[in-house]
């Protein structure tokens, strides 16, 4: 599906690590390649450095050792800065004073795109998440799930090649989360996106991903790189299939193994 040899990986992480001046070691040196068109999930318990790794990939923080290369080059030298990747936070992170459309077009406005083009981009992105008719609403008038979809539309507005998502549905109820997972999977397939998705939900990881990087804590590191090569589209039938259950078990065991030495050090 989304496999196959690519010219250059979207992101190549080579021995990248992160320590803070106070001595906290957030990430041990990590080698990871993110290939075009794949849906990679970073899975692990809280405090295993998933978000730190995502922030490194986003270029929000700099590695304290090693290097990252985006699209085979230096990030600053690649295309219009900030326009090739979209970021979705844990919370919707919308500007409450701006209408939905103004929120979605923000990245385009900040990049200096002209008004008409930005409006078209925002409307197109809102249509993709099914919220076109809410363009004139304020965020507070929408439900939590709808706000999250606005947040995704904002990330899509720049037509990114790489979509980074930091536990975007973690705060939503289970039903909304499943629906949005389904919508995200459809969007990923339709748009040919490359997605890096952070979650601590094993079910979500299995349902969405083409590949799962299982992470362990203290220091954060990737302990297993598991391809989920089940066919797409994966509907609700997949969620209750034995394959799904087997995949979940497999990941569950890996996560437990990752946590064994850290959460209960006395048992190791």
């Amino acid at each position: 599906m989304a496999n196959g040899a690519q010219v250059a990986p979207v992101v190549a992480i080579a021995r990248a690590e992160k320590s803070y001046p106070n001595g906290t070691r957030a990430l041990a040196p990590i080698d990871l390649e993110i290939r075009g068109g794949e849906f990679l999930t970073l899975l692990g318990p809280s405090g295993c450095g998933k978000t730190t790794l995502l922030n490194l990939i986003a270029g929000l923080i700099a590695p304290s050792g090693g290097a990252l290369r985006w699209w085979g080059g230096d990030f600053t030298a690649t295309g219009v800065p900030g326009r090739r990747q979209g970021f979705v936070f844990q919370a919707p992170t919308l500007m409450p004073w701006a209408r939905v459309e103004a929120n979605v077009r923000l990245p385009l406005d900040l990049a200096g795109v002209d008004r008409d083009t930005a409006t078209r981009g925002a409307v197109a992105a809102l249509t993709q998440v099914g919220l076109a008719e809410f363009a004139r609403h304020y965020p507070r008038e929408l439900s939590g799930g709808m706000q999250m979809r606005v947040s995704i539309a904002r990330a899509l507005a720049t037509v990114p090649d790489l979509l980074l998502m930091d536990e975007p549905f973690g705060a939503l109820d289970e039903f909304t989360r499943q629906r949005l997972d389904g919508e995200l999977a459809a969007l990923w397939a339709a748009r040919g996106l490359t997605v890096v998705f952070v979650t601590h939900s094993i079910y979500e990881a299995v349902f969405l991903s083409t590949r799962v990087a299982v992470m362990g804590a203290r220091p954060g590191r990737v302990i297993a790189d598991v391809p989920i090569d089940e066919p797409f589209p994966r509907g609700d039938a997949f969620r209750v299939s034995t394959t799904f259950a087997r995949r979940c078990q497999q990941l569950s065991a890996l996560v437990a193994e990752a946590g064994a030495g850290t959460l209960h050090p006395e048992q190791s």
Binding site: F89, M95, P96, W97, L106
Partner: protein, 266 residues
């Protein structure tokens, strides 16, 4: 009043109005019943008669005081906002200058008003200056807090989009600071009036361009207590009107998106 049962708009006006009518009626009744001389406590009706009889004098005084208070409020708003914008440019600037803003706030205006009046030749400008000194602090403090209270996630988003400092200020910090700013403005509107009145008491200038405070001072010396009450009434009314205007302005700007205004009556 129960919190979960929001009173209707009519009740919000009717309830305080009823209290006012009851209090005025009691006041009138007591003054008449005990035959209190009007140079000690005038009845509400006598105050009303004085308001009408002295309307030219009192209206002039009201306009002078209101003019000073409004000018001071405008200056405090502009200067206070600029100072807040300066403060958020760097912690160093704020650390160095904030104590002086506090100094301005904690020094009683009655203590520094005589100095200002001596130093500034034009009395009107001196009075405006006094009122600005009183009114500016809440604007500085609230706006600075608002400009700093930026959603961290949104700040990250702006950074990821390579937004300039200017874009962050205009599109993120300033809109986000508006609810705080209006909170400060609400307090400052009352303080500007207090500052204007107190400064005028200290200055004690009469003749042309005398404000309500001077009328109170003069009426007190002449034992014209009904006029004193009438002037007092006008100051209170002006204060309420100023406050109401800032509440209305805040509602007009924020009601579409901010929780503090969303539930308020339209």
């Amino acid at each position: 009043m129960m919190d979960n049962d929001a009173p209707s708009r009519m009740l919000r006006v009717a309830a305080p109005a009823l209290i006012a009518v009851l209090l005025l009626a009691a006041w009138q009744g007591l003054v008449v019943a005990y035959d209190v001389p009007k140079y000690i406590v005038p009845s509400p009706l006598v105050v009303l008669q004085t308001l009408i009889a002295d309307r030219a004098l009192l209206a002039d005084a009201l306009f002078v005081t209101l003019g000073i208070a409004l000018t001071a409020l405008a200056i405090a708003t502009v200067v206070g906002t600029l100072v807040a914008l300066l403060f958020v440019q760097s912690r160093w600037i704020e650390m160095s200058l904030f104590p002086y803003a506090v100094l301005l706030q904690v020094t009683p205006i009655v203590a520094i008003a005589p100095l200002i009046i001596i130093w500034v030749k034009d009395t009107r400008i001196a009075l405006i200056l006094c009122a600005v000194v009183v009114a500016i602090f809440p604007i500085i403090a609230n706006t600075t807090l608002g400009l700093r209270s930026v959603d961290h996630g949104l700040l990250n988003l702006f950074r990821m989009c390579r937004a300039s400092r200017w874009q962050v200020l205009l599109r993120l910090r300033i809109p986000g600071a508006l609810p705080y700013f209006f909170g400060g403005l609400r307090i400052a509107s009352g303080l500007a009036l207090i500052g204007a009145v107190v400064a005028e008491f200290v200055a004690g200038t009469g003749g042309q361009g005398a404000g309500l405070a001077y009328q109170i001072l003069l009426a007190g010396m002449q034992l014209n207590i009904p006029r004193l009450f009438a002037a007092l009434f006008l100051i209170a009314a002006a204060g309420i009107a100023l406050f109401a205007a800032t509440v209305w302005l805040s509602h007009a700007v924020l009601s579409s998106w901010h929780e503090s205004e969303a539930a308020a009556p339209g």
